[in-house]
Each structure stands twice: as C-alpha cells, then as structure tokens.
C-alpha cells in the first residue's frame, strides 16, 4: 500500500521537526501556566459577591468560550500589535514577535476554560471548610490561600492536566498564521518536498503517542488522588 512512499524524508528533517516540537511544548507549558494563573483570578472574580467583579469576569469567560480558537488567534495576531502601537503612541513600537503573540492569544483563550474548571473545583470544597476558616479568624484572602485553594487544586489536578493535553493539541492551530510549531514544520516540509502522506501520518503518530501517554499518566494520578475520598 505504501509503495512509492519515502519515509526517509522524516529522518532528513528530524532536527527541524524537533525545533517545531520545542516551540509547541514551550507554547503549551507557558500558556498553561499563564492560563491557570489568570483563570484563578477570573474564577475568584466570578465567585465574588460583587457585581463589578463577577459581571466582567462572566462576560469575558462566556465571550471567549463562544469564539473559535482560530478566530481568537487571528484577533491577537493581527490586532494586538496595532493596538499596542496605538496605546504606546509609538508608531514604530517593537512588535512582540510571533511567539509572544501566540502565547498571549493562547493564555487569554485558555484562561476562560481554566476559569470554569477552577470555579467548579472551588465549589467542590465543602462549605464547612469556609465557615471553619472564618471561625478561626482568617480573612477572606487567608481562607482562600490557605484553606480553599489548596484543597480545590488538589481535586482539580487531573482536569487541569487534561485541559493541558487539549491545549497541546490546539497549539497546532498556529499553522493558520504560518508559524513553525511541530505541525507547521511538518507541513512546510510536506509541501516543499511533496511528501504529505508521510509527514502528516508521522505528525499524527507523534501527537497520538504523546497525548496517549500523557492521558495515561493523568489517569494514574487521578486514581492516586481519589484515594481516601
């Protein structure tokens, strides 16, 4: 079936592909961290009893969750540099570069999803814990930091990681603005050498192996964390 196919093209382009993979992994890890931090802030805002806090947060989360990631990437890739230029008043403001444009887009996009996971995680902590913390004389901030969030995050770790795996798959979409992530590298070689079948199957295989292994690890973690509940 695969006669006439040239799997040697993969060996020849391994260095370039690994560079692309580093880009993908870097983008994944950094936007995951950024997304979780921003997502926690958003989640706390959404749970706050003040309208000025929860309305903007809810609006943001619902807006981002209704918009396709590709459109969000376009928004940030094309408009953020222009907005920055206007804001800074410097017509020649240094662009933040493609990697950081993508990083900002993914962080802001993922934050909306992480927010919902974290909100559910916080709500899963029994109310008694909050009351107990207040009864002990802790302030709101202390109660969150020392009592609620540590428990919430413990419950959430598997879901946060699963979302991270989805994020890793989603980074392939930077293809639409021509960046060289793993998929971008694969498709550039595929098209230059006319080797689409080999490269795309190889890309699928690599993504599958990485994501499958990661999911397996997450599943093990989940089992460990659910002990004693």
């Amino acid at each position: 079936m695969f006669t006439g196919f040239d799997f040697d093209v993969i060996a020849r382009s391994l260095p370039y592909l690994s560079q692309g993979m580093l880009f993908s992994l870097g983008l994944t890890v950094l936007s995951m961290i950024g997304g979780i931090v921003l997502g926690t802030v958003l989640a706390l805002m959404r749970l706050a009893p003040f309208r000025v806090l929860h309305l903007p947060a809810s609006g943001y989360v619902n807006l981002l969750r209704s918009t396709p990631l590709i459109l969000v990437i376009f928004w940030f890739y094309f408009l953020v540099p222009l907005a920055m230029k206007r804001l800074s008043g410097d017509a020649y403001a240094t662009g933040i570069g493609p990697f950081y444009s993508a990083l900002i887009a993914f962080t802001l996009f993922e934050a909306a999803y992480y927010c919902e996971i974290i909100r559910a995680g916080i709500q899963s902590v029994p109310r008694g814990q909050v009351h107990a913390a207040f009864a002990l004389g802790l302030t709101y901030g202390q109660a969150m930091r020392r009592v609620i969030l540590p428990q919430a995050f413990r419950n959430m770790v598997p879901i946060l990681l699963t979302q991270g795996i989805i994020l890793f798959q989603d980074t392939s979409l930077v293809y639409v603005v021509g960046l060289t992530d793993f998929m971008g590298a694969a498709s550039k070689i595929a098209q230059r050498d006319g080797r689409l079948v080999e490269m795309y199957l190889f890309a699928a295989l690599i993504y599958f192996i990485l994501c499958f292994l990661a999911s397996y690890v997450v599943k093990r973690l989940q089992l460990r964390y659910s002990v004693g509940r």
Partner: protein, 303 residues
C-alpha cells in the same frame, strides 16, 4: 542560547550612539535592539524560501541581507542580529504594520492599493499572472476554465486578477483558497484543481521542482502585471531612504547581475535545479531607472 549578547550589543550601541543625526522610526528601533527582523516566505522560489536546512534563502533574501549590512554600517553597529520571521501572503501586511517584522523580502507586488498601507523599495523583479495546468487537463486558454475548479493562494494579487476575469467573462469558476504557493501547486498536482493562477516566474520555479515537470504547462496572456518590491512600513522616510539607496547602489554597481545570475541562471538549493531564466527587458529597464511606482502607475510589463 546566549543571553549576554543582546545586552552587550545594547551597551555597545549606546556607547557609540551618535549625538547628532538622531535616528528615528525603524532605524532607531533597530539601533536600540540590535536586531533587524526580516519577514520571509516558505515557498516563493527563488525569491524567498527554505533550503534543505530550513534556512530562508533566495534572491530577495540576498538583497535584504545587503540592506541589513548597509544598516549596520549606517548605524555603526559592531554587530547586527538578523532575525527571520516566516510570513504568508495573508499575514505579511498586518505583521509588518504591527511591527513584528521591519522589512519583507518575498514576492510582494507593489501596488498603489497596497501603498495605502505600506511602502516599497524600488521594483526588483517584473512578472505577471498566468496559470499553470496539467497538460492532460486539456486547458488551452482561460475560457476553458469555465465551470472548473481553480485554486489560489489567499491574499495574492493573482487571486484578484483571476476573480475579476471570472466575473467579467462569467466563467462560473469554482475557487478554492489555499495558504501558500506550495499548497496551491499541490492541488493542481493531485488533480483537485485544474489551474493555479500565479506570477509566471513562481509558476516556472514550481514546475521546475515538480516530480515530473513535463506534465505541466504555463499558459495564457498576462492577466495582471506584478512588479515585486521589498516591503517596509509607511511614513518612515529615513529608513526608506536608506533601503532605496542600498537597492539603487546594487543596481548602479552591477552587483545585481551577480545576485540575479546566482538565483535565476545557476543551480539553486534544495534540489540543484537551474531555472535558466534570463533577465527580462522590463527588469533591465528598471535597473537602469529604479523606481517604486505601484503597478497601477506602470505601463504594460514596464515601469
């Protein structure tokens, strides 16, 4: 990665900063950062494309590297880092105006329409829209495309030329967009589309690197004229002056002939194909009288 280097360049640049002739705009930015960001294409052979080590190379890239040298000399920088950023037909203008690249070296048609957004260096190549077809498809003229599928690279002048022709002649062509020239050509190669309208020089190079070049024909009258220029931000006279002067110097000194021969009349990476494409009269005239007029302000195949 060496993090100390940019800091050193910054210090060095600051130490020798010229008190008079304060640079502004892009030049100032390059001076402050010690980096010039050059936008390149993935598959605009032989203007701007990736070689087998995935490094951007080509006729346009070579000229841009000359420009980088000139900037380095002008700013008296001990070292100027060249950073390549990949762009596509769709992303090149927003990325340039947004500041993520300082200059684009590819196969961009200089048009008055685009001059509302960006500026161009003197034209460095003259080409125009034709179509590539498989010989077996039996397409001899544009009229034969009636009701057929045509692939185009999104964001190109060729897309507009073909669509305008389709509207004028009511051919009812079914258009499919693609991201870059390699992908478009692939659509013709695999039979998904019968034709691909593109600047003829790019079609010749795509055909030359195809598996079976003899299978393809490049046909038709020019549907549009496409003078290529190096693209930079608008309203930055000091930068444009330096870029223009560099290009003009290459033209006057005859250095351009060597660069031209290297890419159009000698074997080029990655496959060692020789395009064998002698310099056109239109380009010779442009080298004699460099100008950055947009295509609307030019005559038929001359500027």
């Amino acid at each position: 990665m060496n993090f100390a280097r940019p800091a050193f360049v910054l210090l060095a640049a600051a130490a020798i900063a010229l008190p008079a002739a304060a640079q502004e705009g892009t030049l100032k930015k390059i001076k402050d950062t010690g980096v010039i960001k050059i936008g390149h294409r993935d598959a605009s052979i032989p203007f701007s494309y990736l070689d087998d080590k995935q490094q951007p190379i080509g006729y346009g890239v070579d000229i841009c590297l000359k420009i980088a040298d000139a900037i380095k000399a002008e700013l008296k920088l001990p070292k100027l880092k060249v950073e390549f950023v990949p762009v596509t037909s769709q992303t090149r203008i927003p990325i340039l105006t947004g500041g993520n690249i300082d200059i684009e070296c590819g196969s961009t048609t200089n048009s008055v329409e685009r001059q509302k957004q960006v500026a161009f260096a003197p034209t460095y190549f003259m080409t125009g829209t034709k179509i590539i077809v498989k010989k077996s498809a039996g397409i001899k003229r544009y009229e034969d495309l009636k009701g057929k599928t045509v692939v185009f690279t999104a964001g190109t002048t060729n897309e507009r030329a073909m669509k305008a022709y389709n509207d004028a002649k009511k051919l009812g062509i079914n258009f499919i967009p693609s991201k870059d020239h390699a992908e478009s050509f692939l659509a013709v190669e695999t039979g998904r589309a019968v034709a691909f309208p593109m600047d003829d020089i790019l079609l010749y190079s795509l055909r030359a690197s195809a598996k079976n070049p003899a299978d393809y024909a490049i046909i038709g009258e020019f549907l549009s004229d496409d003078p290529y220029g190096i693209m930079m931000r608008k309203d930055d006279p000091t930068f444009k002056k330096l870029v223009d002067a560099t290009v003009t110097r290459l033209y006057k000194s005859g250095e351009i002939n060597k660069i031209y021969a290297k890419w159009f009349q000698a074997p080029i990476p990655p496959k060692g194909i020789n395009l064998g494409f002698p310099m056109s009269d239109a380009l010779k005239a442009l080298i004699k009288n460099p100008n950055d007029k947009g295509v609307e302000a030019c005559g038929k195949m001359k500027c």
